[in-house]
């Protein structure tokens, strides 16, 4: 499963990658809280957060430009509301909200790029998120690219038959609905096959839980440093 560049990044080796997921979660939430509650009109404070995040990216040995580009996913949303606020005569506020949401996205990219999803979910489990939900999330992620590829193949097949999903007519809607229903049926069949395979491998209705690694000195230091830096910047 190498469809996402984040997958590759999250399997690198660095001091930040080696830290306990719980420590990274705590650090990320502290940073998100500080960024989210910062008032508009404090560019130096926002620059401080950016420097902190940049340090994280460098420690984690990630490509700086790649991380910046990935965090751009929030720009369409931020852009729409930024333009609206600017039209309403509040350009300063528009810029602040845009920068804050970009920095928040950057924090999330850094978290996801240093922590593989299974580790992240294990961290969430020790914060009390229901196991059932986490197992569903993990299975979803496991089959996400399988099903998406199936949808892509169906799209190709339809296009090569001269149809495709872009017909502007009732036919187009029918074909689309048929495709979704077929995908549903195939997903159902796949779920059953998965379940049989699980039974064959000894599944008895319980998922064994990997024991969480020890929360070491480095992990404690990371969560302390990040929280202290975020709090200092926020309150300065």
């Amino acid at each position: 499963m190498r469809h996402l560049v984040l997958e590759d990044w999250s399997r690198k080796e660095s001091w930040l990658h080696a830290r306990d997921p719980r420590a990274k979660l705590m650090a990320a939430v502290a940073l998100l809280l500080a960024i989210g509650t910062s008032p508009a009109g404090s560019p130096s404070r926002l620059a401080g957060y950016a420097l902190l995040l940049l340090a994280g990216v460098i420690i984690a040995d990630l490509p700086v430009r790649g991380v910046w580009l990935r965090a751009c996913v929030v720009l369409p949303f931020a852009g729409v509301f930024g333009v609206l606020a600017w039209l309403a005569g509040e350009p300063g506020r528009a810029a602040a909200v845009g920068v804050k949401s970009y920095l928040s996205a950057w924090t999330l990219v850094l978290l996801a790029a240093t922590t593989p999803l299974p580790a992240l979910l294990r961290g969430l489990a020790s914060f009390g998120v229901p196991r059932f939900l986490l197992i569903v999330i993990q299975l979803l992620y496991r089959y996400l690219f399988v099903i998406a590829e199936q949808a892509h193949h169906m799209r190709l097949a339809a296009a090569s038959r001269g149809g495709g999903f872009r017909l502007r007519s009732r036919q187009g809607w029918r074909a689309g609905a048929g495709a979704v229903a077929t995908l549903f049926a195939r997903s159902h069949a796949r779920a059953e096959a998965i379940h049989r395979a699980m039974l064959a491998r000894g599944y008895r209705g319980e998922f064994p839980l990997a024991s969480p690694p020890r929360f070491g000195l480095g992990d404690a230091l990371l969560s302390l440093w990040a929280s202290a830096a975020a709090a200092a910047l926020r309150l300065a």
Partner: protein, 302 residues
């Protein structure tokens, strides 16, 4: 509409997270307890199916296309509790892996799309899903699901002080309505196709038998959606109305409560005060809803 981090104020996201977390917990326990034993792989794969289904485009207007959002479809096929779990898992993956929607804002996004989106999508089907009215109920569910999620997101943004001029609001509501109509149609068409493929996949709706309960529930959903739409489009309308009627001074005295203007008076000012007021208000509303639900269920079982 996935709200990223940085837009919502603390009282809004914290309040909605405080509501979403226990409700998702209840849904997870119910979904886990349901009979079919292949439930866990089914829910996971259905979450992946939502991603795949969103790659299928439907022509909306020249130059634009829409796609299925899925809340109502999942509710009609997997049941509401499982649908809530699947949609929550979808939103979690979108936030954690694709940075689509924030992590602090995840509670709000789950509330809008996984909880309200699924419940609003399921209610019409639950109430009128048997017999002749089924098709209309399915389509209405799809419409309500998207409309309710979108207006809620808009309302939360406005509550957080995001500036949206009235003209843009109406435009946004129009776009949402178009998407909601499309969702209703797509959901209906897919349900019909599934009927031909395997009728057993569409759950039988076990509606409450009392016509009075049906009417009250239906009316409250309609009122909530209309009210939300109006409130998000013209939040100052009520204030203006009060001013024009000359009751604003009197009403201020009437409404001088510990939580007035979304601030708890007895706490130090600032966001802490707002957060406390938001949490208290939402817990109050949640307690009312829980009490009404308990009353209704007791009456039904009696």
């Amino acid at each position: 509409m996935h709200i990223p981090d940085g837009f919502l104020t603390v009282p809004v996201w914290a309040g909605l997270a405080a509501v979403s977390v226990p409700l998702v917990g209840v849904a997870a326990r119910r979904a886990q307890g349901e009979a079919e034993e292949n439930r866990i792989p089914l829910l996971g794969v259905m979450g992946a199916f939502v991603f795949g289904a969103q790659m299928v485009n439907f022509p909306l207007a020249p130059g634009t296309s829409g796609h299925l959002f899925g809340g109502a479809l999942l509710a009609c096929t997997l049941g509401p509790a499982s649908a809530v779990v699947v949609m929550t898992a979808v939103l979690a993956i979108q936030a954690l892996v694709f940075q689509d929607g924030g992590v602090l804002a995840l509670g709000a996004n789950v509330f809008n799309m996984a909880l309200v989106g699924v419940v609003a999508g399921y209610l019409p089907y639950w109430l009128w899903g048997q017999g002749a009215g089924r098709d209309l109920a399915v389509a209405t569910g799809g419409f309500l699901s998207v409309m309710a999620s979108a207006t809620l997101a808009l309302t939360e943004l406005r509550l957080s002080g995001v500036v949206i001029p009235p003209a843009a609001l109406w435009l946004a509501l129009g776009v949402f309505a178009l998407n909601a109509v499309a969702e209703g149609l797509i959901t209906l068409l897919v349900v019909r196709s599934l009927d031909r493929l395997h009728p057993g996949w569409i759950r039988r709706a076990d509606a409450p038998r009392s016509a009075a309960v049906k009417t009250v529930l239906g009316a409250s959903v309609a009122l909530a959606v209309i009210g939300l739409a109006v409130a998000s489009a013209a939040p100052d309308g009520l204030d203006r109305l009060a001013e024009e009627l000359g009751i604003s001074d009197r009403s201020r005295i009437l409404w001088e409560t510990p939580l007035s203007d979304y601030q708890a008076r007895f706490l130090p000012p600032g966001w802490l005060q707002q957060a406390a007021a938001g949490l208290a208000g939402i817990s109050l509303a949640g307690a009312c809803v829980a009490a009404v639900a308990k009353l209704l269920s007791r009456r039904r079982s009696a």
